[in-house]
C-alpha cells in the first residue's frame, strides 16, 4: 500500500479545524463556486430527520447543508450513479463522494454499461461502517453519536454496524479519483489523495497545500485492515458452516417470503425484469402440483431457493459486500453474509477482484483456453469418470 501511495499518487492537506465533515463539504462547496465541477452528489438529511437521501446539487449553498459522510446508507450510491448516467453522462461534470463499496459497485456497473464515468469524479473516504437502517430510524441521535465515535476510532463497533461492514477490508480504497484519508484526520487537517490525473487537477484547482505525512495513516489503515481481515475469516467460516449442504441453505433461507428486497437494494442487479420473475421462469402449474405430490407440499411463492442461488450465479462475482441486501430483508436473513462468502470463493477461482478500476472484463464475458487453476479443477471434478475423488 505504501509503495502504491508513493508511486504516482499525490496528496494534499485539507484544513479541518472545525471538523472533517464540514471541511469536506466546504471544499466541495468551493469547487462548485469556482466551477471546478458543475454538480456534486452528496447525502443530505431528509426533512423528517431520520434518514439521508442522495442529492445531486448544483447550488453551492446546498453543499453547505449536506453531509460528507452519512452514518447510514439507505440507498447504495451506485444506484444513484446508475440513475444519473445510465443514458449517458452528457456534459455535466459531477463529483460524487461515497463510501468505497459504493464506488466499487459503480466500477462493476461501469463494466456492465450501467454507469458512465466519462464526466464523473469519484471520491471516497475511510469508512468505519454504516449503521443498519432500522437502527438509525429508531434513534437517529444515538446512531449519529455512535457513528462519530467509530469514525474517530477508525473502526466499526460490533453490533453497531451492518454485519458486512465488520468484515470489509476495502474500507480505505485509494484508487478512486480522490480519497479523503479520514482515519488520518488529526491535528486539524485531513490528508486527501489523488488517484488519477483528474483527481489531481481537482486538487490543484482548489489550491490545497500539497504533500501530506501519510506514514501514520498508512500504519493505522494497515492495522485496521488486519483486524477486519481476521473478522472476515471468522465470518466466512461461520457462514460456510451455516449454509453447508442443502439443508444448510434451506435453513438459512427458511423465512424468505420472496419479496425481492435484497435484489432491489443490490446495486449490481440492474435488470428491469429479473429472469426469476419473468414468464420464462414461471413454474408450470401441472409441474408444480407434481412437485407438491413428490415433496410433500410446495412452498409458495415458489422457487425461492432457485432465486437466491440463481441471483448468486448472475451477480456474486461482482458482489462488493456492501450489505444492503441484508439491511433490506424484512425477515433478517443474512443474505450479504452468504453472497459475500460465495462471491469470495468464485472470485478467487477466477482470480478476479470486484470493484477495481482495472479495465478487466467481467469473468463471464470472456474466457481463456486455459483458465485459472481453481476453475480447471472445478471442471475436472465435474467430468464423469474423469477424475478420481479421494
Amino acid at each position: 500500500m505504501s509503495a502504491e501511495v508513493r508511486a504516482g499518487r499525490t496528496s494534499a492537506m485539507l484544513p479541518a479545524a472545525g471538523g472533517m465533515d464540514p471541511a469536506i463539504t466546504g471544499l466541495l462547496k468551493t469547487a462548485l463556486e469556482k466551477g471546478v465541477v458543475d454538480a456534486v452528489l452528496l447525502p443530505m438529511e431528509v426533512p423528517s430527520g431520520d434518514s439521508f437521501a442522495w442529492i445531486l446539487m448544483k447550488d453551492p449553498a446546498l453543499a453547505g447543508d449536506a453531509r460528507a459522510m452519512a452514518p447510514v446508507m439507505p440507498v447504495q450510491g451506485a444506484l444513484a450513479l446508475r440513475s444519473l448516467t445510465r443514458k449517458g453522462e452528457g456534459s455535466l461534470r459531477v463529483l460524487a463522494l461515497m463510501r468505497p463499496c459504493e464506488v466499487r459497485a459503480a466500477r462493476e456497473l461501469s463494466k456492465l454499461g450501467q454507469v458512465k464515468t466519462g464526466n464523473l469524479l469519484l471520491a471516497t473516504w475511510d469508512c468505519p461502517g454504516a449503521i443498519p437502517m432500522k437502527d438509525y430510524i429508531a434513534d437517529p441521535a444515538a446512531a449519529q453519536e455512535r457513528f462519530a465515535g467509530m469514525l474517530a476510532a477508525g473502526e466499526p463497533l460490533a453490533g453497531g454496524v451492518k454485519p458486512s461492514c465488520m468484515s470489509c477490508i476495502d474500507f480505505s480504497m485509494t484508487d478512486a479519483d480522490l480519497h479523503f484519508c479520514t482515519f488520518g484526520g488529526t491535528g486539524g487537517s485531513v490528508p486527501v489523495l489523488a488517484g488519477s490525473p483528474e483527481g489531481q487537477r481537482f486538487l490543484d484547482s482548489l489550491g490545497l497545500e500539497a504533500g501530506a505525512d501519510l506514514v501514520a495513516w498508512e500504519e493505522r489503515i494497515s492495522e485496521k485492515r488486519d483486524a477486519r481481515l481476521a473478522a472476515r475469516q471468522t465470518a466466512f467460516r461461520e457462514t460456510g458452516g451455516k449454509v453447508a449442504g442443502f439443508q444448510g441453505m434451506l435453513s438459512v433461507f427458511a423465512d424468505c417470503i420472496g419479496c425481492r428486497n435484497c435484489r432491489a437494494a443490490c446495486p449490481i442487479c440492474y435488470c428491469r425484469l429479473c429472469y426469476f420473475d419473468s414468464e420464462t421462469a414461471k413454474p408450470d402449474p401441472d409441474a408444480f402440483l407434481d412437485a407438491a405430490a413428490i415433496r410433500g407440499g410446495v412452498s409458495l411463492p415458489a422457487n425461492r431457493l432457485l432465486f437466491h442461488i440463481g441471483r448468486m450465479t448472475h451477480m456474486s462475482l461482482s458482489c462488493v459486500s456492501c450489505g444492503q441486501c441484508s439491511d433490506a430483508c424484512p425477515v433478517d436473513i443474512p443474505v450479504a453474509d452468504v453472497f459475500s462468502f460465495v462471491g469470495h470463493r468464485t472470485r478467487e477461482a477466477f482470480e478476479y477482484a470486484a470493484g477495481r478500476n482495472d479495465g478487466l472484463p467481467l469473468p463471464l464475458r470472456t474466457f481463456e483456453k486455459t483458465e485459472p487453476a481453481g476453475i480447471m479443477e472445478q471442471v475436472r471434478d465435474a467430468e464423469p469418470g474423469g477424475h478420481s475423488h479421494d
Partner: protein
C-alpha cells in the same frame, strides 16, 4: 403573491375539441395569458393520470386537462374515462392535503374559442392567487 409571478400551466388538450378551441381563441384574437403551455393529445383519455402527477411534481403551477363535452367525445367514450381518472387523482390529492385546486379539467369544444380564453384567464388568476407550486423548491420528491 407578487404580480411578477408568471404561472406555468401545463395543459393537455384534446386535438378534436379543446386544442382546436384554443387555436380558435388565437386566430380570433381572444386574449388569454401565456401561462398556458399546450400539449396536444388525440383525446383526453390519452392523458395517463400519472402525467398530471408528474407535471405537478415537476413544478407546474397548474395542470389543465381539456376535453370534449361529455357525450361529444370524438372517440365516443374517451372523455368519460378521463373524467373518472381525473376524479381519482383529485381525490388522492385531497386526501393527502395536496393542492387539488392546481388540477383542473375543462370541457371545451372546437367552436368555443371565447370559452377557452375565459377558462385560461380565470384559471391563471386562480393559480396566481395560490402562488407558485411549492414542488418547485422541493429537493426530496
Amino acid at each position: 403573491m407578487s404580480r411578477e409571478f408568471a404561472p406555468r400551466i401545463t395543459s393537455f388538450l384534446c386535438k378534436w375539441c379543446s386544442y382546436t378551441g384554443a387555436d380558435l381563441a388565437g386566430t380570433n384574437r381572444f386574449q388569454y395569458p401565456v401561462s398556458i403551455i399546450p400539449i396536444q393529445v388525440m383525446c383526453s383519455s390519452r392523458v395517463d393520470p400519472v402525467f398530471l402527477i408528474k407535471a405537478f411534481l415537476g413544478g407546474a403551477d397548474g395542470v389543465l386537462m381539456g376535453g370534449c363535452h361529455p357525450g361529444d367525445c370524438h372517440y365516443e367514450t374517451g372523455n368519460y374515462h378521463a373524467r373518472r381518472r381525473f376524479a381519482i387523482v383529485r381525490e388522492i390529492f385531497d386526501s393527502l392535503g395536496l393542492e387539488s385546486g392546481r388540477l383542473r379539467l375543462a370541457w371545451i369544444s372546437a367552436s368555443e374559442g371565447p370559452k377557452f380564453a375565459q377558462v385560461a384567464r380565470e384559471y391563471t388568476e386562480q393559480i396566481r392567487d395560490m402562488g407558485d407550486n411549492p414542488t418547485r423548491r422541493s429537493l426530496f420528491l
